[in-house]
Amino acid sequence: MTTVINANVSSQKSWFKWVRDNLFSSVAGTIQTFAFAALVVVVLRWLLGVAFAEKNDWTAVATNMRLLVSYNYPLSQFIRIWVAAGVLLVCAAASLGAWRFDPALTVKRMARTFYSVAVVAALCALLMPSSAPGVLVRTLWLVSTVLAIAGFAASAVASKRNNLTVSFGALLTSSVVGLLAILWFVPFGNYGVVGGSPFANPGDTVARSTKEPWTVIFTLVLFTFWASRALGTKTVAIVRSALLAFWLVGPAFLIFVVLRDPAFDWQRVWAVDVPLAAGFAFGGGLLVYLLAKPTRSSLARLVGVALSAFAILNWVAGFFGWYGMLQKVRISMLLLAILVLILPAFAGSQSKRLRIAVAWGGFILVLHWLITAINTPSTLVISAPPFLGGFTLTFAISYYVVLASFPLGVLLALARTSDLPLFRMMSTAYIEVFRGVPLITILFLFTVMLPLFLPRGMAVSDLAAVFAGYSIFSAAYLAENVRGGLQSVRQGQYEAANALGLTVFQRTLLIVLPQGLRVSIPNLVGQGIATLKETSLIAIIGGFDLLRIANSTIPNQPQFLGQKRPGLLFIAMVYFILAYTMSKSSQRLERRLDAGRM
């Protein structure tokens, strides 16, 4: 009993000391405290006034949630979006589990977080304008009180056992359960559009069509997280490589799931596509298998050069229209040529050759499936011409831009750090030009000019042009980030690799890139955040991304005429949550990398 009292006394003392040291340490400090407190009050009051002014109609956001998520996607097919989102989240959870993501969260820290949120909620409740709905103010007070009690309890526990931590799994489980409870029991109100006419049931909980999918997804998320955590060392390696493969190509499949249900012309598929795919897969695989023998490396180089000459000729011929050829044959031929060219670096034993051949075969089958699917009309009829929009578009564009700019950026970075002057010059010119001009001009350039540059009869959609332009632009920035990492690789590493007799290609792939990329991970995450934020520029080009919907689509609806503020504030919050989480986790990663540095 006495110890508890002592702890309380000391904590009260330290609390008092903290206030004195941090807020009123000197006259200047006291003035500073009051000045900043006034600033906080003014800014918060103004912001709340802007958000909850009388004329703001927040049901504009609630009613149009479906637009914000995926624009005009047909309701009957919405299950596709749920599946895509579900697979992404489940794989994310599986990755967290498989990579043993377990940041130790101390109870002390949790208590501090509870207190801060409680204080902020109370401040907001105090400063809320009179036009704000009373239920909101009451909820804020409630949240504040509950969190303050929780914080007090947590700090009481922490004062007894100082280094008590909560595992990430427990945190995840409790937050998921809490979220589900809120979803099912808190009366947010049920808003939406049915058959073109909006409805509003303010007292209800959210719509069943929202609750049920989320419940299923969250349950699966929890399940996969714990399941992947429980995996043994042997299986976890396999699961990890499967997940890596998913993060590389999975989203491409998901986009297909969302966007189209290709109506294959099976006769043509069996007559043309399947033989072609099989031919490239088996023929190419056989070629690769035969040439990957260490003794045949000069032959492989010769064949590689011949193949590349032929492949390039195919493209030139296609450009000038000398002879026709299916695009996928051109693409596969070029890829095969590149593979054969770099094959000597991978040459090796029988099993290794077999593995390369099988990998090639699998890759080509997937690629052909994708290309055929793209070129087949979709059965999914989507009402408005901009088939996709909202958050789905924002997410998809930023994901693919990062994915596509990565190889190009790495190549540019390698060229810029190489000792070959012409490569260096070319890469520098590319990087400096693209970093010197604003993204919006590049996006305009690609949407307006790409049709000019293409030969007659070829056309690209606006979105594809935006994607291409954005990736090319982004690669210049990525190259600079990667260059920083590459420069941190010490000269001795190059020398050691040379002394072993590694070729330049092997040296780059096995020694330089793994070390350089590792160092540049935090910067790359930063660039990912920038990419996500800048997808909002698509709104200017005419894409229906989050911003466009909040800023023009919703305010143009007759029942919500001119309601821009709620939408803008809402998407600002969405962007903020995404970017903030990413940047925080990147900082954590940076700290971990720093700690693990040799």
Binding site: L420, P421, L422, G436, P438, F444, I540, L568, F576
Partner: protein
């Protein structure tokens, strides 16, 4: 016994071959695309070249230095683009100043020991930089759009400051007729100042004590400014001088300049080759040149030859353009001095409202339209969060011992920051800060979203009118590259200065 490897296996040769192969592939690709574009343009009946620049604009600009057709001056396409560039630079310049001030304030606050101060600064930084700039600009546009409508007594200080839906207007300070004469006179006065300062400084070094270098300079400068303010019409004769310089320049035949250019290029290449050869010279004798050296020399010579041929033979227009623009520059300056007019170099006007059916802000004051203001606010708040982080990083990069030493010497916290930490942090801060300035300049292009007439928006209007996309995009690229080059030149110069000061 010494064998040279066959050419196809010689690494030095192969390296250069590979480079040239890629270079020519890239150039070839460019050529292909360009010819395709040209063909497409021709098919659509869009003339190549930049002749359309001098044509009439047929549209009006929202705001800028001169936006409407007037009898004496028609708005041409080039003028419109120029107005756009000036608008861009204006927002960028104001944005750079404001966001630096705000950013430094926030960055320093974030390091403050005061709990509320550093929490507020952190919240500011995290909020501002995690919300896309475009969202912020549109947010400000909505907020400013809901300000009170314009009325005779708009604004907190009627007659001095107008704040309304139509814009924000403050008193305008502008360069009046006598400004150029004024500056010329100050330059004339500066020459003796230089001598005076040198003498005083020498005396200071020799005799010690206080020879009042600074106070003399200040006194001299204030007297000469006062004199120049009133007597500047005297300098009007410069107009005639500059005009004759222009005439003399224009009298030089373009062939001579062209030849000079050619010689200059060849001389430059020669100098590079010589410096390479010099670096291989040793006291003992000449070092053996590697294959790489030979290739470098050949490449330099080849590039110089091509450049010289292009300037002298294939594109004589480049020189002609250069000669003309330099001549125009002299005449332009001459016209500024003109006939000895001049009076007050600088003048000011208060903002007023136009009377009429619709009340409007007249252009007597310095008016910031809602478009301008929302772009500026967005840029300043967004960028200052990044600048705050740059400043914070720079200050944290100064070793702890430095500030401890300063405190031990009895400096106050403020003095320590000003005199010890900030000067050192400045060197770390400068390069990323320059990067942020560059970002502001590029991000002004988002003004297009709120309809502000900056260069990208004007350019878009232009190519929507006449389909000259290729030309307009080349102007975009040239303009922004020029901006980024000048900003990085300034930053590099400052960096070099700081580095020398340190030594």
């Amino acid at each position: 016994m010494h064998q040279r490897p066959p050419i196809w296996r010689n690494v030095a040769v192969l390296k250069w071959l590979a480079q040239f192969a890629v270079l020519f592939t890239v150039l070839g690709l460019f050529w292909l695309l360009a010819s395709e574009a040209q063909e497409n343009l021709q098919r659509r009946g869009i003339p190549a070249g930049y002749n359309w620049l001098s044509g009439p604009a047929n549209f009006q600009l929202g705001e800028g230095i001169q936006t409407v057709d007037s009898p004496e001056r028609r708005l041409t396409m080039s003028r419109a683009l120029w107005v756009g560039m000036v608008n861009t630079l204006r927002v960028a310049a104001i944005g750079i100043v404001l966001s630096t001030i705000l950013g430094v304030f926030i960055g320093v606050s974030r390091l403050s020991k005061n709990f509320i101060a550093n929490r507020f600064a952190s919240a500011f930084v995290e909020t501002m930089r995690n919300i896309p700039l475009l969202v912020q600009i549109l947010f400000w546009f909505v907020i400013l759009g809901s300000l009170a409508p314009l009325a005779a007594d708009s604004g907190p200080i009627p007659g001095w400051l107008i704040v309304s839906q139509k814009g924000i207007s403050i008193p305008r300070v502008f360069l009046a007729d006598g400004f150029y004469q004024f500056v010329a006179m100050l330059v004339v006065f500066a020459v003796p100042l230089w001598f005076i300062r040198r003498t005083l400084k020498r005396r200071q070094d020799d005799l010690g004590g206080n020879q009042r270098v600074t106070s003399t300079t200040v006194a001299y400068l204030s007297v000469s400014t006062l004199v120049a303010w009133f007597l500047n019409p005297v300098m009007g004769f410069l107009g005639g001088v500059l005009d004759s310089v222009a005439t003399a320049w224009n009298a030089i035949p373009a062939q001579i300049i062209r030849g000079l250019f050619g010689v200059l290029i060849i001389w430059f290449a020669g100098a590079r080759i010589r410096s390479l050869l010099n670096s291989r010279r040793t006291p003992v004798g000449f070092a053996k040149l590697t294959d790489n050296d030979w290739f470098q020399m050949l490449f330099t010579a080849f590039a110089a030859g091509v450049a010289a041929l292009v300037v002298v033979r294939f594109r004589p227009g480049i020189t002609t353009w250069f000669v003309e623009s330099v001549g125009n520059f002299w005449s332009f300056l001459g016209a500024k001095f003109g006939d000895g007019r001049g009076a007050q170099p600088i003048d000011a006007m208060l903002p007023t409202l136009t009377e009429g059916r619709f009340i409007n802000i007249s252009n007597t004051g310095l008016t910031m339209s809602v478009f301008f203001a929302s772009l500026l606010f967005g840029l300043v708040f967004y960028t200052s969060s990044y600048i705050a982080e740059v400043v914070r990083g720079g200050i944290l990069a100064v070793p702890r011992g430095q500030s401890e030493a300063a405190l031990a010497l009895g400096f106050t916290r403020g003095q320590m920051l000003r005199k010890v930490v900030l000067p050192q942090a400045f060197r770390v801060i400068m390069p990323p800060l320059g990067n942020q300035y560059l970002n502001i300049t590029k991000n002004t292009s988002l003004g297009i979203a709120v309809g502000f007439s900056e260069i990208v928006q004007v350019g878009q209007t232009v190519y929507n009118k006449n389909s000259q996309t290729l030309a307009v995009f080349s102007i975009y690229i040239a303009f922004f590259l020029l901006c980024s080059l000048s900003i990085s030149a300034v930053v590099n110069t400052i960096n070099r200065r700081l580095a020398i000061v340190e030594r």
